[in-house]
C-alpha cells in the first residue's frame, strides 16, 4: 500500500505549442518509498501497475503546488525551481475540499524522507471515490512553465520541517541538503558514458560517414586514427562537460529547441536524456526514409 495515493490525471503539452491539455485518462498520483530506499513520486493509469511518471524526490529540490492560472482551479504541478521542467496533474477526486490536504501531504512526504529505520510512514488517507469531470483546456492563454511559475511565485510551499525528534534524522537531512546539486527530475543520462573514447572507438568503421567528417576540427585526418586523436583529447572532454552542463542547467532545454530537436518541458526526462531520445527518433525516421544516411552508404536495413 503506497504512503499516499489520490486520483489524478495528467496534463501534457500539445506538441509544437505552449498549451497544456488535460488527458482524460483516469490515474493515480502515488508516493512511496521504493526498494532503493528513496521517496518516489509517481503517476500511473488506474488500469495498470505500470508507472508513466516515476521520479525520486529530494527535499528542497522539488515542490508540489497549485497552478493558479487554471480556470477550474484543480491543476497542480511538481515543480523543479532550478530547472525549467514541471510535471502537471489535475485532481480527479470528486471532493475538491481535500485538494489542499493532498498538496500538503505530497510536500510533507517530500520533506520527510525515511532516513533511519525507526522512521515510520504515514497512514494514507482514505477519500471518497467518485469521478470528476475532465477539465477543459487549462486556460485561454497558453500556460508555459515560466508563466505558471511566475503565477504561483507567491504561493510558496510550506517551509520544510527540518526539526526532528531524532537527531540522526536532522543530521542526515543536513548532509543531503548540503550535498544537493540543483538538478531537474531524476531521469537523465551522462553523455560522457556514450561519447567517451572507449565507446566511440567501436563505432568508427573504416570509412567515416560524410556527416561526421564535416564536423571534425581542421587538420584532422578523416580516418579512425584522426577521429580518435580528437576524441581522446582533453579539449574534447572539456567541451563535452561544458555542453552537458549547459544542457542540464536552467534554460538548457532551450538548447535542444535551438538545435531543431523536439523538447518536452513537461516530461520527467532530463535534457541529456531528451537529446538521446530525439536522436533515436531521428535515426528511426532516417532509416524508414532510405539508406542514404547509413554509416557506410549501403542499402537500408530491413
Amino acid at each position: 500500500m503506497p504512503l499516499l495515493q489520490f486520483k489524478a490525471g495528467k496534463l501534457r503539452r500539445k506538441e509544437g505549442t505552449k498549451i497544456l491539455q488535460a488527458d482524460k485518462t483516469k490515474g493515480y498520483v502515488e508516493m512511496n518509498v521504493e526498494e532503493d530506499g528513496l521517496m518516489h513520486f509517481s503517476w500511473r493509469p488506474r488500469n495498470t501497475e505500470v508507472k508513466e511518471d516515476d521520479v525520486v524526490v529530494f527535499p528542497d529540490e522539488v515542490e508540489f503546488e497549485r497552478v493558479s492560472q487554471c480556470n477550474t482551479g484543480r491543476v497542480y504541478m511538481l515543480k523543479y525551481p532550478s530547472s525549467s521542467q514541471c510535471l502537471f496533474y489535475w485532481m480527479q477526486e470528486r471532493d475538491s475540499g481535500n485538494d489542499e490536504a493532498y498538496e500538503e501531504l505530497v510536500n510533507y512526504h517530500i520533506e520527510h524522507q525515511p532516513l533511519s529505520e525507526e522512521n515510520e510512514g504515514d497512514e494514507p488517507h482514505d477519500m471518497q471515490v467518485d469521478e470528476e469531470t475532465v477539465p477543459t483546456v487549462v486556460s485561454e492563454t497558453p500556460v508555459t512553465p515560466a508563466t505558471a511559475a511566475a503565477a504561483s511565485a507567491t504561493d510558496s510551499a510550506p517551509p520544510p520541517n527540518q526539526a526532528s525528534s531524532q537527531p540522526q534524522n536532522a543530521d542526515a537531512i543536513q548532509r543531503i541538503l548540503r550535498a544537493l546539486q540543483s538538478a531537474g527530475p531524476r531521469n537523465n543520462v551522462d553523455l560522457w558514458d556514450v561519447l567517451k573514447p572507449a565507446n566511440v572507438s567501436p563505432l568508427l568503421h573504416r570509412s567515416l560517414p560524410e556527416a561526421l567528417q564535416q564536423t571534425l576540427p581542421p587538420n584532422t585526418e578523416s580516418t579512425y586514427e584522426g577521429v580518435m586523436e580528437v576524441v581522446s583529447s582533453p579539449q574534447y572532454a572539456q567541451a563535452l562537460q561544458s555542453f552537458q552542463s549547459a544542457l542540464n542547467s536552467q534554460g538548457g532545454l532551450n538548447i535542444l529547441a535551438a538545435l531543431g530537436l523536439p523538447v518536452d518541458y513537461t516530461s520527467s526526462d532530463g535534457a541529456s536524456l531528451q537529446l538521446l531520445r530525439a536522436i533515436e527518433k531521428k535515426v528511426r525516421e532516417e532509416d524508414v526514409n532510405g539508406g542514404e544516411n547509413s554509416p557506410d552508404g549501403t542499402a537500408p536495413r530491413q
Partner: protein
C-alpha cells in the same frame, strides 16, 4: 565588450602574444619553483604567478612604490577576466627595448604610456585588438554561461601577478594594487635567486593544502637561443630544436581543438551510437542501464 576566461596554459599564452604581433617570445610553465630550474633559462623577461585569490585585504611583502608609476608601465586591472592578458602586457610593455612587440602593441604603448594607471587599465580593457585576440583563445562555447555574476567569498577567483626586473629593481605588478610593489634592488644575474623566495613567501600566506598554483616564465624564443649558442654542437642543437618544435606543434594542435565548436561532432557521434544500438537490438536495455547508473551517481554524490 566582454572578455572571456582563458585556460592557464603556456601554449595558449605563447600563441596569444604571437597573435598580438610580439616576436620571438615564448611562455613556458614552471613546474618547479627553485633557483636551479629558473637558471636554466638563459634570459627571463618575467614570471607570471597564478593563484587563488581571496577577497580579503592581502598582507604583502615589499613596499608600494608610487614613485615608480612614472618610471615603468603599470596598468590597473579593470576587467577580471582580462587578468591573464593583463599580466602578459605588464611584462612585455616594460621590456620594449629588448622585445619586438610589433606595430600594434607599439602603438598601444605609445598612446597609453603617459596615462595614469587606471586609464592605462581602461585603455587595455577597451582595446578591440587585444580583447579580440584574447577572446579567440577562449573555449568555443556557444552557450552563454553565467560569467557575469560577481565573485563571492566562496568562489575560487584566480588571480595573476607579474614579477619582473625593471631598472635593476625587482617589482611585483599586481593590477589590483594601486601601485607596483618593490622588493628592492636586484641585479640581472640575481633575478632567479631573489624572485624565488619572494614567490615562496607569497605561497606561504595560503593554507598548506592550497596547491592550486601555476607559474609561467616569459623568455626569448628558445629556438633562436639554441641556434646561436656557441657551446652546443650541431647534433645537440638539432636534438633540442626537435623537442622544441614538437612542443610547438602540440601547442598549436591544442589551440586548434580549443577553438573548435564540438557540438556538431557530438551530435553525429550520438547518431552513430544510437544507430549502432538500434541495429544490435540493445537500445532499450542500454538506455535503461544508463538512466539507472545516472541515478546511482546522483545518489552517491548526495550521500558523500
Amino acid at each position: 565588450m566582454s572578455w572571456s576566461t582563458l585556460e592557464s596554459d603556456a601554449g595558449v599564452f605563447t600563441d596569444l602574444i604571437e597573435n598580438l604581433g610580439v616576436k620571438d617570445v615564448q611562455v613556458d610553465e614552471l613546474y618547479c619553483l627553485d633557483v636551479e630550474t629558473l637558471q636554466q633559462f638563459q634570459k627571463i623577461y618575467g614570471i607570471i604567478f597564478l593563484f587563488k585569490w581571496k577577497k580579503q585585504a592581502d598582507n604583502f611583502d615589499g613596499e608600494l612604490d608610487y614613485a615608480s608609476l612614472d618610471e615603468l608601465y603599470f596598468p590597473q586591472q579593470i576587467i577580471s577576466n582580462a587578468c591573464a592578458t593583463q599580466a602578459l602586457m605588464s611584462i612585455l610593455l616594460n621590456h620594449t627595448n629588448e622585445i619586438d612587440i610589433g606595430n600594434d602593441l607599439r602603438e598601444f604603448y605609445d598612446f597609453t604610456k603617459e596615462l595614469p594607471a587606471d586609464l592605462k587599465g581602461e585603455a587595455l580593457g577597451n582595446s578591440e585588438l587585444i580583447r579580440c585576440v584574447h577572446n579567440s583563445f577562449a573555449r568555443a562555447d556557444p552557450f552563454i554561461s553565467d560569467e557575469s555574476r560577481p565573485a563571492t567569498d566562496d568562489d575560487d577567483v584566480y588571480h595573476f601577478i607579474a614579477y619582473t626586473l625593471i631598472n635593476d629593481k625587482l617589482y611585483e605588478l599586481d593590477g589590483l594594487q594601486p601601485a607596483p610593489i618593490c622588493h628592492g634592488k636586484c641585479e640581472k644575474p640575481l633575478f632567479a635567486s631573489r624572485v624565488v623566495p619572494v614567490i615562496q613567501s607569497r605561497i606561504a600566506k595560503y593554507p598548506p593544502n592550497e596547491i592550486r598554483f601555476n607559474l609561467m616564465v616569459l623568455s626569448p624564443d628558445r629556438r633562436r637561443i639554441i641556434q646561436q649558442d656557441p657551446s652546443l654542437s650541431d647534433t645537440e642543437k638539432t636534438a633540442i630544436l626537435a623537442v622544441e618544435e614538437e612542443k610547438r606543434a602540440r601547442w598549436k594542435r591544442e589551440n586548434q581543438l580549443r577553438k573548435h565548436n564540438f557540438v556538431g561532432m557530438f551530435l553525429e557521434l550520438l547518431k552513430l551510437s544510437v544507430k549502432d544500438q538500434i541495429d544490435k537490438g540493445t537500445w532499450n536495455e542500454t538506455l535503461q542501464q544508463r538512466i539507472q547508473s545516472h541515478t546511482q551517481n546522483q545518489l552517491e554524490k548526495r550521500n558523500a
